[in-house]
Assembly symmetry: C2
Homo-oligomer: 295 residues x 2
């Protein structure tokens, strides 16, 4: 068993297509096939079932994947530690964030970049679910989200701030003047909500569920800017964390009178994984941002 073979296996598992995996690994399909076979021989059990054109994971393959991934990750962590030791000022950051937290991320990126201009940053937007899945595959360094994701033992949660769930309306609309609204008032409004998979959506559904109300969801989208644009037309309303629209001029957020509408924003990262210097430094920036200044 060699790291090379584990890397091959991981890619093959993720694509479930040897030809494509081989291409991405820059080796021939023949080589990949042989190396997987060799690994299977050593483990004494097939990792893939070959049925016709397609392959799929065996139970053994499924079990083994986790260890293969962690093994490769440990090797990479070791490599990373030594890179960090030499020069703290190169490297890159892979940040996952939900749209609702971009207002805190932008100033953090700015501040971080001024301190560490050499470090490149990738920001990936997505739903909580998408992002935490990618986090588990070590494709991201950390994720910013409202922590309504199922609390996972392997993950570390660092709270940032909490935000009230609010009704978002266009400035011209009749609702805009209200100081607050009841959940009962909302249920008859035409709503445009974030798609399933967004933590906020899950949270909204749960709140309505708890009060035995069913909202009128006319529209769903996984693109929050689009959502806000739609609300800006005045035809729809939406429900988001109050902070999400704090810098939108044409929209207003109206507090909802209901229990437990407080969402906790947090940094989510993995336990038992080497934390790069750059990641530590970024956490530092995030946790020391003056949040009040932003709202």
């Amino acid at each position: 068993m060699e790291l090379r073979q584990l890397r091959y296996f991981i890619k093959a598992k993720e694509l479930l297509n040897f030809t494509e995996a081989a291409a991405q690994l820059f080796i021939s399909q023949s080589t990949l096939s042989q190396q997987i076979k060799q690994l299977e021989d050593e483990l004494g059990t097939p990792l893939f079932n070959r049925v016709g054109k397609h392959i799929y994971l065996t139970e053994a393959g499924d079990l083994f994947y986790k260890y293969a991934l962690q093994c490769v990750k440990k090797a990479y962590d070791g490599y990373q530690v030594l890179k960090d030791l030499g020069n703290l000022e190169i490297g890159n950051l892979m940040i996952g964030t939900t749209y609702g937290l971009r207002h805190i991320l932008s100033p953090a990126i700015l501040a971080f970049h001024q301190q560490h201009p050499q470090i490149t940053i990738d920001v990936v937007f997505g739903t909580s679910k998408e992002l935490t899945d990618r986090l588990s595959k070590f494709e991201l360094d950390f994720v910013l989200t409202f922590e309504e994701v199922t609390h996972n033992q392997n993950m570390k949660y660092q709270p940032l701030f909490s935000s009230e769930l609010s009704l978002i309306a266009c400035k011209g609309s009749p609702l805009a003047e209200k100081k607050s609204v009841a959940l009962q008032d909302i249920q008859h409004l035409p709503l445009a909500l974030p798609a399933k998979g967004f933590s906020t959506r899950k949270f909204v559904d749960e709140v309505f569920e708890k009060h035995h109300l069913t909202p009128q969801v006319n529209l769903e989208t996984n693109d929050i800017p689009t959502l806000l644009e739609l609300v800006g037309t005045g035809y729809w309303n939406t429900i988001l964390a109050q902070t999400t629209v704090s810098n939108q001029k044409n929209l207003v957020s109206i507090p909802i009178r209901s229990l437990k509408t407080l969402q906790q924003a947090a940094i989510v990262s993995l336990h038992d994984v080497y934390e790069k210097q750059a990641v530590k430094a970024f956490f530092d920036v995030l946790l020391h941002l003056d949040l009040n200044e932003l709202h």
Copy 2:
């Protein structure tokens, strides 16, 4: 970077001698030297300092070791999972135990062997410190000890039973008739104690320390049977968990009147490591032993 190289590095690090490490790895010294060099080149930093005949770890090597070890372990865990999947009834167990817990280990081994006769068992006796060190190097599956080892985040503690620290005396001796003794009475007795590194010894030292007393330690040994033999002569006494001598006919244990002499016996194992079926099964046996029956 390949697992082969990490395995080579680990052995070299542990022996700090390329020639010997190569021999134990069944490769030539030349090969080892080259592979280490290749690894160092890839990591961009030396892992060893070569001064004259000797080598020692660089800071980078020290940092890297941890990851190399965990990486190799993850690969092995993956292998192990699949072996377990196929046939639950082969494999082996590496058990570390302090002498004080052998009375519980023997019946457990007996019971376990009757259920799983194919599984080979190695039992290693030693001090808590020796054993937990070996546990950290993945050389043991678990350790039985009085958990006075420093509580470590990476380790899991499953309590077994608690036992009073007692004065151990020969049956013929004048002390033998006493119902209990005070710590003050003990400080003038000639004592033979377990050597430093034994958790019980650490515990004893702490108890005396707390009461500002200094015991007369005439003799230390790291072999508990020898210790008991010496006590059997009547010239010395010792201090051990009461349960340690529960099946010694010529010795008696006398409770010590003092605060906090209760020691907790526990199974110590590592978090975040694959737990073999055999290990799970053994824990089951240990945790369901009728302890009262043994005392």
